[in-house]
Symmetry: C2
Subunit: 450 residues, 2 copies
């Protein structure tokens, strides 16, 4: 370690090799405080070449590294939980917008909000948005294939990535930042690195596509007779309404808890079995197509519609408050999962019953991105260290053919679960790829694999 | 080989192990006749398990395999040019459409046209379309990340793939067909296999997203003062017009050759420096937004607009005839390349001059998917075996930071070029991945790497 740090000081300058625990502590704990580690050092390279020097030194001296962006993850994937050295990418903050190509080149350390603002200044937009936009950075968002509320419309980070620059675990630098949308020249290393959680390479920059700015926007909160009716209505909307920008599900009991929290009655169909939050963004008025798709549809009870920004925000509040209402009731187990769409409605009923059986009196909030089959299962009541309840929920997800990580990845939090979600053949293929690109296992060795 | 074939007969039944040269010949030559090989045998497995048995036998007996779909490639990637055994996937033709999820599960052998028809019957559409739709199959389209005219709107095959089932070179079967749109549980093997040209695994099935059917469609042929003006106008359209479905470039001299071929004057701006073919597909009338984006734009000379199907087809004819006009003039060197958008206009001028210097009197047709930076450079005049002219064009592409393969991949045709387009670090990373998933090098060993 001493030689490694000495090499880092030579390569980066002493100011960018932090060893004082007062300085490193902020990098060793995640933002929720759930994952607390300790780092012998934090290094802050200022260029891709400096990242390559750090990786070469780590290989030579067999030092484990954890790449870290905005530290907004939820699964402990960017925190030094086993004494790793943190490689903080915040100094890689170069940002160039190419309006003609409708693309941007962003350093790993560029915050999402900065990218969004720069895209907006060029008359364009970035396709991904999420709550942590002021802190989350491009490198971490690519490494975890971050999603958010517009995946339905523009896809997750994976769909925005045109190319990346990265330092592989071998120390080799790969770079494809020219913005070639069509480029079939061998394996797509950018797509492989996307979602690899810092275990194959350290992403130093990305070339990202930009999208057209929203046109006319309509938001609707729709009450339905049941979760199943909501899922069916969501499918019909996907088929019949162009320009869907969001399609969110909230089950009825969850929304009524939100109503208690907000001290306001539901704005529509107060006893509905479930609710959909629908947003459409189209060049011309999207309301007629939306109304036609909903009017008279079996299982659709009523809808509240808004076109003005403030009114739309009021409808969105009903969806967004789901994330916070749990914490007002107790400890929250946040499980973010995906189900096959055909299995979604049955899963929602089943998971509530399973939790009630396992922990009588616990509250299960269900909401999420139904357009992507993605449900947030928030269980309130059992203490934080009662991980058996997480097992109950994730076990049901696996049984029903779902994914235990819709967003955020596996990290350290779910690595014991990887082998239950993915087959031995898949895990072995992943391990073979890991050995190929990180032969000494120096990159985020405590993440992904058990 | 004898033991391998004997094992295949046991596993697949003798009827699906072809060794008669009269029967294998059709599998040994590509559809253009440019690539002529010979196969000691063609095996036709009828299930993923049978493909796995074939791969296991090939590993045991060290037999090289070439996976083959509809055999519509252009770079010799699916043809047994070094005496490989052909694995024909045509019998894997299962197709299920899941309307609720807006997804389909398709066997590798399902032709694109069959998939399109099934999606249409469910009130949906498939996002990729290309001329070879009756022959090209899902497996080959995923393996080569096929593109076509709607990449601008829906992305290439990569963007349609939700999951794949495949037999890796190790013989292991990986399968993720549940249709999980959000699934961040380790490396995305589907994305890695997409575009890997059969060198890492044999794709046996894919889960594919379906998209909404087109709404109201407007097509316009726009004359511009120059290629640079056309590129600028294309950027403005991408920024300002929602629902762009196609954005095609033709340079002026090329379109006038098409006019001679069709014996008709250009339908708009007969002396334009370049032309754009624009198609917009939106829920409500897209014409006002299109007109607003074009009217008074510097460099835009005139536009012909069509909304009826037959009229639209007449405008498309001007673009489509570019693919055939070359053959009426002589041997055609078809080079399908991508440039960074910012370099596109200069490249178009430069490549014409370069070809003229190298082969005075040759004709260079330029057209393609400008929305993706993708240009087809068709050089007519030099004989087919004059590959030095291909070198001139591809060399210029690499110099200008482009990609030597926009679509179709590297195959055998361009493998000598891979190391000029991709850096040594990238090629070595690809080779390491190849060794990880195909340790004995039995899958398409003569493709991709020189």
């Amino acid at each position: 370690m001493r030689e490694f740090l000495s090499g880092c000081r030579d390569a980066l300058g002493p100011a960018h090799v932090l060893v004082d625990p007062d300085l490193t502590a902020a990098y060793a704990t995640d933002w929720t405080g759930r994952f607390r580690g300790a780092a012998p050092a934090v290094v802050r390279p200022g260029s891709t070449a400096e990242v390559a020097e750090v990786v070469a030194l780590a290989r030579r001296h067999r030092v484990a590294l954890v790449p870290q962006g905005g530290n907004t993850g939820l699964v402990g994937g960017g925190v030094p939980l086993a004494g790793e050295v943190v490689v903080s990418l915040g100094r890689l903050d170069r940002l160039d917008v190419d309006g003609t190509a409708a693309q941007a080149t962003a350093g790993a350390g560029v915050p999402l909000a900065t990218l969004q603002a720069a895209a907006g200044a060029a008359g364009l937009a970035f396709g991904v948005d999420l709550g942590a936009r002021d802190s989350a950075t491009v490198g971490g968002m690519v490494a975890t294939n971050a999603g958010g509320i517009h995946v339905l419309r523009h896809g997750a980070m994976r769909a925005q990535v045109v190319g990346v620059e990265a330092v592989l675990g071998t120390g080799a630098v790969v770079s494809r930042l020219a913005g070639l949308v069509k480029d079939n020249t061998g394996y797509d290393l950018a797509q492989l690195l996307c979602g690899s959680e810092g275990t194959l390479g350290i992403i130093t920059a990305a070339r990202l596509r930009l999208v057209a700015r929203p046109g006319q926007v309509v938001t609707a909160l729709v009450g339905t007779g049941s979760v199943a009716a909501a899922v069916e209505a969501a499918s019909a909307l996907r088929r019949d309404v162009a320009g869907l920008a969001a399609l969110e599900l909230m089950d009825g009991p969850s929304l009524r808890l939100v109503a208690d929290h907000l001290a306001a009655p539901p704005p529509v169909a107060p006893d509905a079995g479930a609710y959909l939050l629908v947003e459409v963004d189209a060049p011309a008025d999207p309301l007629p197509a939306l109304a036609a798709a909903l009017d008279g549809r079996p299982g659709v009870l009523d809808a509240a519609v808004a076109t003005e920004r403030a009114e739309r925000a009021r409808l969105w509040r009903w969806r967004e408050a789901h994330s916070e209402v749990g914490a007002t009731l107790g400890e929250v187990h946040k499980l973010d999962v995906t189900l096959p769409v055909a299995a979604l409605a049955a899963f929602c009923a089943e998971v509530v019953a399973c939790v009630e059986r396992a922990r009588p009196g616990a509250t299960t909030l269900l909401f999420g991105h139904v357009g992507d089959g993605n449900v947030h299962v928030n269980v309130v009541g059992p203490p934080a260290d009662d991980t058996a309840i997480d097992d109950v929920v994730l076990g049901l997800v696996v049984e029903r053919g779902g994914s235990i990580s819709a967003e955020h990845g596996i990290g350290t939090a779910k690595k014991a679960w990887l082998a239950r979600d993915r087959s031995p053949a898949e895990v072995e293929a992943m391990r073979a790829i890991k050995r190929a690109l990180d032969p000494d296992g120096i990159l985020n060795p405590n993440v992904l694999f058990a």
